[in-house]
Each structure stands twice: as C-alpha cells, then as structure tokens.
C-alpha cells in the first residue's frame, strides 16, 4: 500500500541551512548534507529544500549544495526557490534533484508549468501555493504571504493541475507558524477537486495534527519544519503513532 509521506523542510541560503536547527549529535547544523542525512536515517520519506538565496550570482552555491546532497542522500528530495525557467530547472535536475517546486514564477507566468512538464515530465513539477483566507475567500499569496493576488486558491490549483503540475504543495499562511494544526478544511476541498498528490504544509505543532490531516483529508504527505528541527516531534515516534490509527506509513 502506498504510504503517507512525512517531509521535513529545510531553508537554505547560499548553500547553508538557516533557521534554528536544534539537533543533537550534529557537528554543523548549517550543513544541509549532514542534516539531510540525519533525517533520512530517522525515516523521513522525502525532503524539501527551500532556497532563499537572494542574489542570482549566488545560485551557483545552490547547485553545488544540491549535488552534495544527491551524492549522500538515498531518498528523494525537492528543491524550490528562485526557479523561473526551464534552464534553471534543468541545472537542478542534472545535479540530482528529484523534483523542483515553483511558486511565484508560476503565478506570474503559468505557461512555465507546461514548459517544465513537457521538458521533464509531470513527476518533476511541484507547484507550491501559499494561501490566505481573506474577505474574498482563499486567495493565492506571494512573497511568503505578504503579497496578495486576486487568484482564487482552488481555481489556481485546478489550473496548475491542468497545465501539468505533478504535485501540489499547499501552505496555509493562516496556519503556518501557529502550531495549531493543518488547514484540514481547505486541504479536503483541494483533494476532492484534483487528481494529483497533495502535500499539506503549515500549522504542524504536535503529533495529533498529523493524525488529523491524514484521517480528515486525502493528502498524500505532510510537511513541517520547526517541529522536526527542534526535536519537538521525532519522526520514528510520529510514524508509530500514525500507524496505530491505521494510517499507512513506511517504518
């Protein structure tokens, strides 16, 4: 049976892991390779790297980081951030990334989804969507939730699927950072509207939130950052707990 996936997300800048990471036995918490390896050992099913490198000139460090991760890691990983062309994506594919995630570049130019799907296959293209509930309903936001668009979240996700997205990574900005649980209501709506895998993101605070999202919605994966980085949730325990609820996991 296909397992539900648990995905730690790492922010990287200039080829280094940023944001507090509080791992025991880690000599260098800023080294994405060491961190990725630790997560793979713990039983993470996949990893997502979000590249927040600001300048285009430093993108070379990202490529080197992706290669270093691919050399060591024996589970799949996605890289997102700053990808706006087929050439950007190709450099990452050739460096060993299994999937790339695009966000604002796809909103600005939806044809990018189609171009990437045609060049590399739909399985390579994750469309990340940041959403926030407004007076006009759930709208797509850019720049980490700071910039509202007029795009209705559900319509945009359907369009992304029809253009060739192979997976949706949906982050609820209302839930992100609150540790109050995933946005199950919206995730359920999204899952019933499309036929590609969905990754839930934003709001994980405790194990019960993962149980909730996997029992109340048809999401395929759940992503979190700080609860894993700070050791608040440990992946083997999380998976054992999910299993007691009959949720298929890889142990």
């Amino acid at each position: 049976m296909l397992s539900k996936r648990i995905i730690p997300c790492l922010d990287v800048k200039d080829g280094r892991t940023v944001k507090g990471v509080n791992f025991v036995d880690l000599k260098d918490a800023g080294d994405p390779v060491q961190l990725a390896w630790q997560y793979a050992q713990q039983g993470a099913d996949e990893l997502v790297f979000l590249d927040i490198t600001a300048t285009h000139e430093k993108r070379g460090t990202t490529i080197e980081m992706v290669k270093a991760v691919a050399r060591q890691l024996n589970i799949p990983f996605t890289i997102g951030g700053g990808i706006s062309s087929v050439a950007d994506a190709e450099a990452l594919l050739n460096s060993g990334a299994d999937k790339i995630s695009i966000n604002s570049a796809a909103v600005r130019r939806p044809a990018l989804i189609q171009e990437l799907a045609e060049a590399f296959g739909v399985q390579f293209v994750v469309v990340a969507v940041d959403t926030k509930l407004t007076g006009q309903g759930n709208l797509v936001h850019l720049n980490g939730g700071r910039l509202a668009t007029e795009l209705d979240t559900l319509s945009w996700i359907k369009e992304a699927e029809s253009l060739g997205a192979g997976e949706i990574l949906l982050t609820s900005m209302d839930h992100d950072g609150t540790k109050q649980g995933f946005d199950c209501r919206l995730l359920d709506q999204v899952c019933s509207s499309i036929n590609i895998p969905v990754i839930a993101s934003g709001g994980a605070g405790k194990t019960a939130h993962f149980t909730e999202v996997f029992t109340q919605t048809a999401v395929d994966a759940a992503l979190a950052a700080s609860v894993f980085h700070f050791g608040e949730i440990n992946i083997p325990d999380l998976k054992k707990e999910l299993k007691t609820y009959g949720i298929p996991v890889r142990l």
């Binding site: 099913d45 050399r71 799949p76 050739n94 299994d98 399985q123 997976e167 036929n195």
Partner: protein, 197 residues
C-alpha cells in the same frame, strides 16, 4: 564494471551517486563500441516514454542493446523502453518483453502520478537477495507495466496489480527507483552488479 547508457533521458547524477556510495565502478556508454567495455549495463530514464525512445534511437544503440547477452537493468522509463509499446505517446518500444505499458486509470480512485513508497512483493530472484519481502521502494510514474506471470518477478498494487520488476533471461527491469529507495534500493543495485553473465 557497470556501463550506463547515456542517451540524455534522466537523472543520471542520482544513479552514479548511488553507485559511488556502493563503491561500484561505472562508465558511460555513448557508442556501440562502449558496450564491450562493461560487464553490466544499466538503462536509466525519466520523463516521457516516446521522447526517451526517440533519444535512444538517435544513439543508434537499440539493436546492439537488444542482442546483449550480459546482464541489463532498465530503471523506470528505462524499464518501460524494454516493453513492446507504451500508451505514453502511443509509441513502439524495444519489444524485449512482449508487454504493454499503460496509463494508470483514475477511475480506480487513485491519484496520478503514483508517487511515494509502496510495498513490493517479489518472487525468489537474485536481484532481491537479502531484501525482506514487502519492503517499500520509491515509485514515481504515471504509466505502468501490465502484470504478466511469465516475466513478473515483483508486484505492487496501485488501483491495479502491476509489475514492479520483470525479468527475461539477462534482461532485468525495475519500475521503482533503487537509487532513491534507501538501503534496500542500494542492495538491489549491489545485487545486480554481482549477477553472473
């Protein structure tokens, strides 16, 4: 030594990284003469089957690959290329296995692509030596190879029962990605490297 058919379809970096971790030597196959240099051959592949077949044909290696007597391993789209036909681009393939590659049926209430870790039930086969039955491997594909008891050496279920691995004589093929399937996947690559001609 392992030779990797270098026809421009896919993520070779992950495969070569896995072989390096296993201390297995490898090289690239670009011409027919290169085939002589290696004892084991891997045909990797991701992306669109028809596009991949076109690229493979452009290398001029198809007939030489078909007549190989040494162990050959197709991975993912590299597996599908060994079958007779794919619905992806309605394309005729190498026909080493008289099997068809079909699109998953969303009427089965499944999401497409089939993406993630799924259980594999295998028959007694050298390739799976040292691996527990029902171990999970990492799959990512929208098209699958129909189950056929003659060639099937491992089966998985996703809406339908399909072949996760097939074998015919010296030709082996895997639908999942051994290079992305943790320690069990690496074991499979190691096992392949030890298969005698």
């Amino acid at each position: 030594m392992i030779g990797i058919v270098n026809y421009g379809a896919g993520n070779i970096f992950s495969l070569t990284s896995a072989l390096q971790r296993l201390n297995l030597d490898y090289g690239m196959i670009n011409t027919e003469a290169d085939l002589e240099k290696y004892s084991h051959i891997i045909i990797p592949g991701v992306g669109h089957a028809a596009a991949a077949m076109k690229k493979l044909e452009q290398t001029g290696l198809v007939n030489a690959l078909k007549s190989l007597k040494k162990p050959v391993l197709g991975i993912c789209v590299g597996m599908q290329l060994l079958t007779q036909h794919s619905e992806e681009g309605d394309v005729k393939l190498m026909n080493i296995f008289p099997l068809r590659t079909k699109l998953f049926d969303k009427q089965q209430n499944i999401k497409i692509p089939h993406m993630g870790w799924n259980n594999v039930e295998f028959k007694n086969n050298l390739l799976f030596e040292g691996v527990d039955n029902q171990t999970q491997f990492y799959f990512v594909h929208s098209y699958f190879i129909e189950y056929n008891p003659i060639f099937d050496i491992a089966t998985a279920n996703y809406g339908i029962r399909f072949s996760a691995a097939i074998q015919k004589d010296n030709f082996y093929a895997l639908q999942f990605h051994p290079e992305k399937s943790g320690a069990a996947g690496e074991r499979l690559l190691k096992n392949f490297s030890t298969i005698k001609q």
